[in-house]
């Protein structure tokens, strides 16, 4: 019995890492731009289609992942520069509509270019690995290893590099950063690129669990939001912890009550908002001009 739980937790950590990576992208953009990015999931979906296309060209799988990450970064940067930047100062609600609209445009584009039928997408690694009582798919193990690497890298960027410290400064006080001469727009571009690169990576890593179709990222998007809220919306570390907790809890709940699997995250959000409005690691923030 105990072994079953260990396996549920291990698999849940892999799912949670996926949620955490997506939540991290959402929180990075939310923190620095004060915009909820609804297209985080679907951007990953579109890039996964691109990866699918590249794989049919017989390119090696790791190279395809790399290209997809680069494509994601380019997409994110382009969106920031040409869609978000012109509207940023003019309308907050307009920005929300832009990211929501993008989510739909991505879905339509994917369906239009690649046809909306579900397609099979093979994982990079197919076998399984065993650690004592735990048996984990190699792909799941890869997800955990890769996300640990990404979390660490991102933290080093945020706490050790000028551009990362600048991003944290913008998140705390946009006006203060701008007036000091911090290149806020270059940093916005950087953050959107990172977030969309993450979304592409997540898409490719997670798609083998489902089938490739235009809305396969929707549940991930919803759960990443839940994870972000659970972690406190304004904390990158919170997003990671929120994602991991959600993944593990969801997996255990689904084992006992399979019909609750999809709705559990939203129930959890309601509970968190009732008792911990700022999430696990969130802080109350004040913004002033």
């Amino acid at each position: 019995m105990f072994e079953i739980y260990l396996n549920l937790i291990a698999r849940g950590l892999s799912t949670g890492a996926i949620y955490g990576l997506t939540a991290m992208g959402i929180v990075l953009i939310f923190q620095t731009n004060n915009i909820l990015n609804w297209s985080q999931g679907n951007a990953g979906m579109l890039i996964t289609y691109l990866a699918f296309f590249l794989l049919t060209l017989q390119l090696p799988y790791p190279l395809v992942i790399l290209l997809a990450v680069i494509a994601g970064a380019t997409l994110g940067g382009t969106i920031e520069k040409y869609l978000i930047r012109p509207v940023r100062e003019k309308s907050r609600i307009g920005l929300l509509m832009i990211t929501l609209g993008l989510a739909m445009v991505f879905e339509g584009l994917a369906a239009f270019i690649f046809r909306p039928f579900p397609r099979n997408f093979d994982p990079l690694l197919k076998g399984s690995v065993t650690f004592g009582p735990i048996t984990l798919g190699q792909q799941d193990f890869l997800v955990i290893a890769l996300s640990t690497f990404i979390f660490t890298t991102l933290f080093l960027i945020l706490y050790r590099t000028k551009i990362g410290i600048g991003a944290r400064g913008i998140a705390e006080d946009w006006y203060g950063a701008r007036i000091l001469g911090v290149p806020v727009f270059a940093i916005y571009l950087f953050i959107w690129s990172i977030s969309f690169a993450l979304s592409g990576l997540v898409g490719i890593l997670v798609v083998p669990r489902f089938a490739l179709e235009p809305h396969f990222m929707l549940p991930i998007q919803v759960k990443a939001f839940s994870a972000a809220v659970l972690g406190g919306m304004n904390s990158v570390l919170g997003a990671i912890i929120g994602g991991l907790l959600l993944g593990v809890m969801e997996n255990i709940i689904a084992f006992h009550f399979p019909f609750l699997k999809e709705s559990f995250s939203l129930i959890l959000v309601v509970i968190v908002l009732l008792f911990l409005p700022t999430g696990l690691l969130g802080r109350k923030t004040q913004r002033r001009f």
């Binding site: 000028k162 410290i165 600048g166 944290r168 400064g169 705390e172 006080d173 006006y175 203060g176 950063a177 701008r178 007036i179 000091l180 001469g181 911090v182 290149p183 802080r283 002033r288």
Partner: protein
């Protein structure tokens, strides 16, 4: 050094400053006085590029600043220390300083840290502490320290004494004197008119967006109207 001619500026459709003429010479401290809503902060925000001038010209050392971005204006040596400090509460003192010196290269950076720490030794002690955990006076010192970090030639100070106890106000004004001795030029916006006039060479008085009075600070201190309206005597 700084020359402002016929400056009109404001927010959205609201015109705040009406045709302001003002100049600052090298090595001077010039204060801008006036009651709330007179347009003092608007003036500084327009100089530092946060607001775009509607009409008129702002020239700094012969260079037109009108259409420059705040980043470029900082690069040209004009640094704005905003009202309310705007320090980053979740960043350490050193990170706060780093962002102020964003454009500097690493060698210059360490030299500037040393300079700032000799000016404000208490910040050296607090180097690794989060900005939000500093006392009000220390936060204001950090704000000033951030102002001098990028090696400016003109410092725009908005209400550096706001909300501080008299003892700390004295400390802050001492720091301003030392800045001047180091060769900095300062444009100082202050509510505390008496202190500002005592430290500055010249002063401008704004009233509802118009220039009401200008002159040497020593003359203005003696002026009956200024005494009655701004010095509370």
């Amino acid at each position: 050094m700084l020359k402002i001619e016929g400056l009109v500026s404001g927010y959205g459709h609201l015109e705040i400053l009406h045709s302001i003429n003002l100049s600052v010479e090298k090595g001077e401290i010039v204060s801008v006085l006036g009651s709330n809503g007179a347009g003092k902060s608007t003036l500084l925000r327009t100089i530092s590029g946060i607001l775009k001038p509607w009409k008129g010209t702002i020239t700094f050392e012969g260079r037109l600043l009108n259409n420059l971005d705040p980043i470029q204006i900082v690069k040209h040596g004009v640094v704005h220390v905003p009202e309310g400090r705007h320090i980053f509460p979740g960043l350490t003192v050193k990170e706060n300083l780093l962002l102020a010196g964003y454009k500097l290269r690493n060698i210059e950076l360490s030299e500037r840290y040393n300079f700032v720490y000799t000016m404000f030794p208490v910040l050296k002690e607090r180097e690794k502490q989060l900005g939000g955990t500093l006392s009000g006076g220390e936060q204001q010192m950090l704000a000033l320290a951030r102002g001098i970090m990028p090696k400016p030639s003109l410092l725009l100070l908005d209400e550096p004494s706001l909300g501080l106890a008299p003892k700390l106000v004295t400390l802050i004004f001492k720091a301003l004197k030392r800045f001047r001795d180091e060769g900095l030029t300062i444009l100082l916006v202050e509510q505390n008119a008496k202190r500002a006039l005592e430290i500055s060479n010249r002063a401008y008085i704004l009233a509802t967006g118009y220039l009401a009075l200008e002159g040497n600070s020593s003359d203005l201190i003696a002026d009956q109207n200024v005494k009655r309206l701004y010095l509370g005597r």
